[in-house]
Amino acid sequence: AAAGLCPYRALLARRGGALRALCGSVRGLAAGPETHFGFQTVTEAERREKIYHVFENVAKKYDVMNDSMTLGVHRLWKDILLHKMNPSPGTLLLDVAGGTGDIAFRFINYVRSARERQLQQKLKHHQNLSWQEISESYQEDKFKSLGDSQVVVCDINKEMLKVGKEKAQHLGYSEGLSWVLGDAEELPFDDDKFDVYTIAFGIRNVTRIDLALQEAYRVLKPGGRFLCLEFSHVSNPLLSRLYDLYSFQVIPVLGEVIAGDWKSYQYLVESIRRFPPQEELKAMIEDAGFFKVDYQNLNSGIVAIHSGFKL
């Protein structure tokens, strides 16, 4: 049976290949500039649409899939990002492509405990307070448990935001949190507004990374920090092969079994391979005007945190 199928398959391939080449050139003439969607070549408009649909489909199972694919390690990566950020109470954070809120919730937890520590320190050093001062401090606690910190979660996808809002309600996050529908390449915010800008596992899905970086620069205050957490390139050859094997053989299967969606997770692993490696991304961030740009590899480069400052 296999032998009989081979010529048929080869014929299909040749025909398919020629057809694809023809389509490619026709498409190139008709629509906009070409870019990639995983390993396919598409126009920018097509790419945006396809990616929107991917996240529309995966939104409900996004968190479950993240846990399954990374065996929960993505939580550690996000924790490390927050530790690197080390936000103090009063920080204004913009979390772009923040979808289901993982970074935002961690931020709130972080500043809340930082604030508690702050207040405890204050109390320790001021043992002899007058009744006036004591009642004032109680009022402060009531209204500033986050100490004026705020996080704005911005995402281009309605479904992801929906899941994020539901999660926030379910987990009891309400103070200091807002949700905005917006495009990383064209942010609906004023210049010089935010102390920190984060984009966790989102910049890979942006079609014009340069525009997103420019926007990040624009909305950050002078002195503000840019932080990007993203899948990157593994240089160790043995680890790289194991990682590839896992990515291409296991992850789409997980996608099919858990989320009933093979193709979205096939896209995910392909998009990781297409994304610029550490040094290239560093250069792009520098091009947008950021200074002191650096990166930190996590798990030998499976993930990397890039950081830059607007000075």
């Binding site: 299909l12 291409f248 079994v257």
Partner: protein, 250 residues
């Protein structure tokens, strides 16, 4: 490993050559086809088996299990069809049972006891539709993909001929019948593990009456895929049962 349909070159998707045409590594043999490596098929088979048991509402998992484990049974079925005049015609003409291809009004107008009328009654009573059948994705042969698709679409007709509803008990009975008829591992697994979800009373009913009858009928009957059902709507269910060799339900 399980090299059911031996590929000429399982090219690993290491993703370095993004520029070439054959970026996917394999070729899409039919719309909706997702080419998979033997390892992926094995993982899919295991994962879908687990998930189908864990969450019985995941019908897509049952479908995937059938596709990834059917590599021996499907060619068998296809050959049975090829060597039978009616089955051969079905393979040539590739009829599909879909709401858009069925003349619902005409079928409803047929006399009670006819295949068409009873089929419509079955769809209405159980509130199902032939259009909810999943198209195959992981079968690496275009003709076999049709065979499994035909098997899925004929499943509802099996319910009609066996007189079984779409309750868990009814589905398990049909699975026993199909397991004997087709030899598809998915049917065998479904028949063996489906009863997990049954109550004690139903379990007893299954074990003492229904399963033995289903097995006997399955063995006695000719291949159910060799019947051109679309050309037999007027035939009475009883006569069709007799023709195929299905014993009357208990």
């Amino acid at each position: 490993g399980r090299a059911c349909l031996s590929h000429t070159e399982p090219r690993t998707r290491d993703g370095r050559s993004g520029e070439e045409e054959e970026e996917e590594g394999w070729y899409q043999l039919y719309p909706g086809h997702i080419p998979t490596s033997p390892l992926q098929k094995a993982l899919l088979a295991a994962g879908s088996a687990f998930m189908a048991l864990y969450d019985p509402y995941r019908h897509d998992m049952v479908a995937v299990l059938g596709e990834t484990t059917g590599c021996l049974a499907l060619p068998n079925l296809r050959d049975k069809m090829k060597h039978h005049p009616e089955g051969y015609r079905i393979l040539q003409e590739r009829p599909r049972i879909r709401l858009s291809t069925l003349d619902m009004a005409k079928l409803q107008g047929l006399p009670d006891g006819s295949l068409g009328r009873e089929y419509i009654r079955f769809l209405e009573d159980n509130k199902v539709s032939p259009d909810t059948r999943m198209p195959p994705k992981f079968v690496d042969d275009e003709e076999l993909a049709y065979v499994i698709q035909r098997y899925r679409e004929v499943h509802d007709l099996m319910h009609t001929l066996l007189g079984m509803p779409t309750t868990i008990l009814g589905e398990v009975v049909v699975k026993w019948f199909e397991a004997v008829q087709t030899g598809l591992p998915m049917c065998v697994l479904g028949a063996a593990f489906g009863p997990i979800h049954l109550s004690a009373r139903n379990l007893q009913l299954l074990a003492t009456e229904l399963a033995p009858w289903a097995i006997r009928s399955g063995r006695n009957a000719s291949c159910i895929l060799n019947v051109y059902y679309e050309q037999r709507w007027e035939q009475s269910v009883a006569s069709l049962r007799e023709e195929i060799g299905i014993f009357p339900p208990p």
